[in-house]
């Protein structure tokens, strides 16, 4: 059953087509991956679904549980249960991790904040009162952001390149958090060009030049991505045969 539908979505940035007539149906409670080479339009798709500034003018429609969200503001979409974790999380000078997580948490208790930090592998006593600023490493900020999303208990979580800039141990923690989101009923959409992240999904969509090239089981998409996309000398130029046959 679909929870989030993207219908014939086309979007231009600076006069250039970034998303081209994209139709995707994300199933409720599943872990999805949107995979493709750099510049394929993956992050643009996430930004458009979330409704970030600069991504509000498009053709087509986006709907949550059958209701269009195209005219809703970013925060209105979030209050319906859609959220986004940035590839490069923001820094907040002076804002404690406690307050950052509390601001998004469905329940505001310190116990919940501790529990979420624990789940992403950050020792609550050590991190709770630290600021979400430049004193945290990129990996720590990604974990903090994921903890805030776990605390929010969203219906749909878009995670943009969840493994970028973090170490092996942290990656495993993040994968564990992805599983926890799913267990809690969240539909997870992993935006990635990493095979390791792709393998965490149950279902995948392959994008190239803003078009859907293929979709289906992870193994099938992984094989295609590995064999055809990664060695492709013309990054971001879709395989004509695949687009013609399946998009």
């Amino acid at each position: 059953m679909g929870i989030l539908q993207v219908d014939n979505l086309s979007l231009k940035l600076n006069g250039k087509n970034i998303l081209n007539n994209l139709t995707i149906d994300f199933w409720e409670g599943h872990i999805h991956a949107v995979v493709g080479p750099n510049g394929a339009g993956k992050s643009t798709l996430a930004a458009t679904i979330m409704g970030l500034s600069g991504y509000r003018t498009f053709e087509g429609d986006i709907s949550l549980k059958g209701k269009s969200i195209r005219d809703l503001a970013l925060d209105e979409r979030a209050r319906l249960g859609i959220t986004l974790a940035w590839q490069e999380p923001a820094r907040f000078e002076g804002l404690s991790i406690r307050e950052f997580i509390r601001s998004s948490a469905a329940q505001k208790s310190n116990e919940l904040i501790s529990e979420m930090l624990d789940k992403v592998g950050l020792e609550p006593d050590e991190y709770m009162d630290r600021a979400v600023d430049k004193t945290l490493s990129g990996g720590e900020r990604k974990k903090v952001e994921l903890a805030s999303i776990l605390a929010m208990k969203p219906r749909v979580a878009l995670l943009d390149e969840p493994d970028s800039g973090i170490d092996i141990e942290s990656i495993n923690r993040i994968f564990e958090a992805v599983r926890l989101l799913k267990e809690g009923g969240t539909t997870v959409i992993l935006i990635t060009h990493s095979l390791a992240v792709l393998e965490q999904a149950e279902h995948a969509f392959l994008l190239c030049q803003g078009q859907l090239v293929d979709k289906g089981a992870v193994q099938k998409i992984k094989s295609y991505f590995q064999d055809k996309c990664l060695p492709c000398p013309h990054k971001n130029i879709p395989n004509e045969e695949m687009i013609g046959g399946k998009a």
Binding site: M50, L52, S53, A73, L74, D75, A78, R79, T83, L84, W86, P89, A90, R91, F92, E93, G94, L95, S96, E99, S103, S104, A131, E145, S148, I149, M152
Partner: protein, 312 residues
């Protein structure tokens, strides 16, 4: 309730002060309402002389050399009536190698037309440490004008730290004027965190003269202005001593029709001295805003959290 009780209760309510503080025999305190002393307690080594003048209060604080005051000294300066002028002349002498921390609670919760004027002369002896944390509570209508002025001399290897924070109510007018001179290996560290709204006016003029070798100084201002509020920050750090080091940091967030000005001035008179500055004025960062909005906060709620973080 008598004025002292009322003022103290108000201070407790507004500033999260532990109510046991003013009853603790090991904690020194001075409570002033308007230009009248309501209560005072000292501890060994600390001498506090207070004179009530026709138009204000003259306070002399002397800390004997080598004395370390273990617990913070509480200065409660309040003006409970809606109108009036509170003028405090403060002369502080900290003996060499002494140590003291002061918590000043300046409470004007009902102010419609109140002026709080502080004129301080502070001498910190060689090797001494002096920390002054000033927390203000103003009325919601902004009927307060605050003029804290200080001339501070920081001796050799001495340490001077001050923090100014408005924790509740509207600014009204705050006009801070601090002038410091820092001797060899002395340290000056001044921070102001203020958020203005409506037609508030924030003026900060802080100067640090690092005259001694290896003297160090940091001037930090974190300001937010909303509505039609205005902020002018003038921070000057100069170094004449060899190996003196300093940094001027000014961050201002502007919303609505707020206007912010920052003038960081660094002046180096010795080839072996080094001073840096950083000034950033702008709106609330869009990525920060969108991150919080993507968790379901409205734009105003998100802005408030970001600004409070900056000012914390």
């Amino acid at each position: 309730m008598n004025p002292q009780g009322e003022l103290i209760t108000t201070i407790y309510d507004y500033t999260d002060t532990d109510p046991r503080v003013l009853k603790d025999p090991e904690s020194a305190h001075l409570v002033i309402n308007g230009n009248k002393v309501l209560g005072m307690h000292s501890v060994p080594g600390l001498k506090v002389d207070v004179k009530e003048l026709a138009d204000g209060i003259d306070v002399a604080v002397d800390l004997e050399a080598g004395v370390e005051i273990a617990k913070p000294v509480h200065l409660c300066f309040g003006m409970l009536p809606e109108t009036g002028i509170q003028k405090i002349i403060l002369n502080v002498n900290i003996g060499s190698n002494a140590r003291i921390s002061l918590q000043a609670h300046c409470v004007f919760p009902r102010a419609v037309d109140v002026q709080h004027i502080m004129d301080a002369r502070i001498n910190i002896g060689d090797g001494a440490r002096y920390s002054y944390f000033e927390k203000h509570v103003h009325s919601p209508g902004g009927g307060v004008k605050v003029y804290p002025k200080a001339v501070v001399k920081v001796g050799r290897k001495a340490y001077f730290k001050t923090e100014f924070e408005l924790i509740k109510g509207r600014v009204g007018l705050i006009d801070i004027d601090y002038e410091t001179t820092c001797e060899e290996r002395g340290v000056v560290d001044m921070t102001a965190r203020i958020s203005g709204r409506d037609d508030d006016v924030i003026k900060i003029r802080e100067t640090g003269a690092l005259v001694g070798e290896y003297a160090r100084g940091v001037l930090t201002s974190k300001i937010a202005v909303r509505d039609r509020a205005r902020a002018e920050v003038y921070n000057k750090l100069s170094a004449t001593g060899a190996h003196a080091r300093g940094h001027v940091d000014c961050k201002e967030i502007v919303k609505d029709q707020g206007v912010a000005t920052a003038v960081p001035i660094v002046e180096v008179h010795h080839p072996k001295a080094h001073i840096t500055h950083e000034a950033a004025i702008g709106s609330v960062d869009n990525k920060q805003l969108e991150t919080l909005m993507a968790r379901g906060l409205s734009e105003d709620e998100a802005s408030e959290i970001i600004i409070n973080g900056l000012l914390s």
